[in-house]
Each structure stands twice: as structure tokens, then as C-alpha cells.
């Protein structure tokens, strides 16, 4: 069965919401924290409902609505979301009040908004959708699990369309804690220069924090406006070295009768940190040596569900047929792109392979 990406919706640190021209004006950030460019939510959601929604829920609901609108779908057959951290702002808020008031006089709103499936649930509630609704919360596999669930539902013929999305936010509390853990770059690095010096060669440590909310409408029926075919998805966990990684990639391609020659573009999950990027450099010398490679985390930052941004980017490249020249890849914007392989990994633990192609 063929699965198509019918529509998308994306709120990210780039100008992506509202389907503007595709990445023609990349936004520059200085420092180690990228923040989403958000719309005025009151244009999309009733004020009475907004009051019960924290920022991450608004991001989720809005991106989902944009996706549904583009798809021309009012009530999807299923809603599946992925979020690694869940609703951090409300979690932090409730924890703070709990400590401050020593467990007395606590109000419920922050608590009920902190549960991980609140984003998916709010989408269902606003749409009055009684259909399947699931939420995956597994670190760097949260989006991939949601995607797999959606793909299985389509293959099982339980549904004809699925709304699949991934959302993660940064809060002041989470950023402080992750900074303490040594995840991020020091100093005022520009995100657009993240790969200016090869992080591996320059032995640079630390990446930049990102966040985002990206939704996709998957269907099993072709239509003229579809972005791309979603050919295949595979994940592997804690591989034991470069040989095992290569084995997974080669097996993935062989299972779908694809060779490296058939791939016009590889989007990698390099994030500017030598600890994560070493593997991509090695692959570039080895099995990826004859392919065109580009990165994406300089645009959206690093976060567990960043692969959703990569898929959004890939889908748009397939739809437009080329890489936007504004991304700065000299000489690449004339290449006709028909098939893309995304190879992403999060903290060297969660590895993802995604393949999409023209319809």
C-alpha cells in the first residue's frame, strides 16, 4: 500500500507557518536557544478555548489545524502525536506551586494541562473527533513511533487518513537543566554558521536548543496536491558502532530495492556537536561518499522530535523539486530532487531512517 503526505502544518523557529514561500528567508539566531515563530492564536482558536491551553498546546492545535485545512479534512480518521517532554511549562508550574505552597491550595488547571496526551486530546476535543487518539512519549523516537502507528493504521485499512504530529517545547526551566547537563554550545554562535567550521574537525562540543510543532496528513489515496510518497520508515536503538549503523542503512535500502544511486539527496541530523556528528562524517567518507548531503538542525535546533522538521523540509523539497538556494548550498539548487533519504539520530541513541519520493 502506498502512503502519501497530503498536507503539512509547521510552527518552528523558521518562517514556516501559513505556508509562506519555502525557506526563502532563513532566520538567524545568536546563542544556543531557538524559539518558535508563533502566529496570533486568536485568529485560529476561540478565546474561550485559548484560556485553557498553554503554549505547547496552542502550537500543537494550530499546526494541526493548518494541516487539516490544507488537506481539506474536517475530522481526521485518527490523531497520533509524539512528544518527548510533554507539557513542560505546566509541569514546571504545578511543581513550583507544590513546593511554594507546600502541597496546599493547588489549582487543577496546570495539572490537567501537564499530562502528555493533552495536546492530542485538545485537538480531538476542538474537532469533536471521537476517533483513535494516541500519544507516544519516547525521547528521540516519539515522532517516529507516532508515524509508524499512523502508517500501520493505513495499512490495516482501519482508516483512510491519519493526522500525525510531533511537538516539543523549551521552557526556561528545561533549558537551564539541559544547559547544566552540557548539551549546548557556549557563546554567541549563529545558527546559520553552525556548520561553517566542521564541528568534528574543530572538535566543537554542544549544539543549539530548538523546539517545534509539525503535523502531517497521511492518506492512502493519491491526490494532485500531495507533497510526496512516504516510502519507508525504520528506527534502530543504541547501535554498537559504525558497522552496525551501516548494516541498518544498507538493509533498509535493500528491503525497498533502492541503491544509493537512486537517492538524490540525504538529509542528515548533524547538530554541530562532535559527539553526535562524528558518525555522519564517517559515513560521508564511506557509504554516503557518492551522495549529496545537507543538514537541517541549524534551522530548527536540536530537540527529540526534530525529525518532524526534517520530514517537513524533505516533503517541501520533493514538492518544489529542488533545494532552496537561500539555504546556502552552492551548486545544489539546480539538482532535480525525486527521492530523499533522511538519516537522523538523537544523542547517538535513537537513529531514524526515512525515505520519501515523488508521487
Amino acid at each position: 500500500m502506498t502512503i502519501y503526505i497530503r498536507a503539512t502544518g509547521n510552527i518552528s523557529p523558521q518562517k514556516t507557518f501559513g505556508h509562506p514561500p519555502f525557506l526563502t528567508d532563513p532566520k538567524e539566531y545568536f546563542g544556543n536557544r531557538l524559539t518558535c515563530i508563533e502566529p496570533d492564536y486568536r485568529e485560529f482558536i476561540d478565546a474561550k478555548q485559548i484560556r485553557r491551553m498553554s503554549r505547547i498546546i496552542l502550537m500543537g492545535v494550530c499546526a494541526a489545524k493548518e494541516c487539516l485545512q490544507e488537506a481539506g479534512v474536517v475530522i481526521p480518521d485518527a490523531i497520533v502525536t509524539g512528544t518527548a517532554y510533554g507539557c513542560l511549562e505546566d509541569t514546571g508550574l504545578f511543581l513550583s506551586k507544590m513546593v511554594e505552597y507546600n502541597e496546599e491550595l493547588l489549582t487543577p488547571t496546570a495539572f490537567i494541562q501537564s499530562t502528555h496526551n493533552t495536546i492530542g486530546a485538545q485537538i480531538g476535543l476542538i474537532l469533536q473527533c471521537n476517533n483513535y487518539n494516541n500519544t507516544f512519549v519516547h525521547c528521540g523516537f516519539s515522532f517516529e513511533s507516532a508515524l509508524l502507528d499512523g502508517m500501520m493504521l493505513l495499512k490495516e485499512k482501519e482508516v483512510t487518513n491519519v493526522l500525525v504530529g510531533a511537538i516539543d517545547e523549551i521552557t526556561n526551566i528545561s533549558h537551564t537543566i539541559l544547559k547544566r547537563m552540557g548539551l549546548y554550545r557556549q557563546g554567541q554562535v549563529s545558527n546559520l554558521d553552525l556548520f561553517k567550521s566542521n564541528p568534528v574537525a574543530a572538535r566543537l562540543k554542544g549544539t543549539i536548543a530548538g523546539e517545534g510543532s509539525a503535523f502531517f496528513m497521511l492518506t492512502n489515496k493519491l491526490s494532485p496536491a500531495d507533497y510526496a510518497k512516504l516510502d519507508a520508515l525504520s528506527t534502530f536503538y543504541k547501535p554498537k558502532g559504525i558497522k552496525e549503523i551501516e548494516h541498518h542503512i544498507l538493509f533498509f535500502l535493500a528491503a525497498h530495492s533502492i541503491t544509493f544511486k537512486d537517492i538524490d539527496l540525504i538529509i542528515t541530523g548533524k547538530n554541530g556537536d562532535i559527539r553526535s556528528d562524528e558518525i555522519f562524517d564517517q559515513l560521508q567518507q564511506r557509504i554516503f561518499s557518492n551522495n549529496v548531503l545537507i543538514n537541517y538542525k541549524n534551522l530548527c535546533g536540536e530537540y527529540p522530535t526534530a525529525t518532524a522538521f526534517a520530514l517537513w523540509m524533505a516533503a517541501n523539497i520533493i514538492k518544489s523539486g529542488k533545494i532552496p538556494s537561500e539555504l546556502g548550498y552552492k551548486g545544489l539548487n539546480e539538482i532535480k530532487i525525486k527521492r530523499i533519504l533522511i538519516y537522523d539520530q538523537y544523542q547517538s541513541i535513537h537513529h531514524t531512517l526515512l525515505m520519501i519520493s515523488t508521487c
Binding site: 478565546a47 484560556r51 485553557r52 491550595l105 489549582t107 487543577p108
Partner: protein, 87 residues
Amino acid sequence: MNELISDLKTQIIAQLNLQDVKPEDIADDEPLFVEGLGLDSIDALELIVLLQQNYKIKLSKADDGPKVFRSVKTIAEYITNHQEQKI
């Protein structure tokens, strides 16, 4: 009483995050739940905490909620009665 009603309106708007609603938009007698402002059961819980936090009054029975919170005026009356009893 009028000052209390006015204070309550401001506090309710803040506590329930009622964006775009101003105190003058809420009539003293206007039903707060289901119709009128359209508040729900979660809001009722928030108001119970508001009463405790700002006025040190604990609702003796949770079932009294619908009566007490019917309108801003009934909340003000409840507060006044219970504060008088305290004295």
C-alpha cells in the same frame, strides 16, 4: 459589597485566564456557569481555591458550589456572610 464585587470580577478574570474579558463585561447577576460566561467544572475548582487563598473561606460542602458560584453577586454574598460569622 460593591467594592467586593468589583475585586471579585478582577480576581476571577485573572484566576481563570479569561483573556479579552474586562470586569465591566461581567454583570453582577449574570450566570457564571453553563450559560453567561460559560464556565465549567474545572473553573469551579479554581474558584474554590480562590475563595480559600484570597478570603480564607473554605467551602463547607463541595455540593454547595453551584449555589455559591451562581453569579458574582452570590459569591460576594457568601463571602460577606462567612466573614461576618468569623467576627
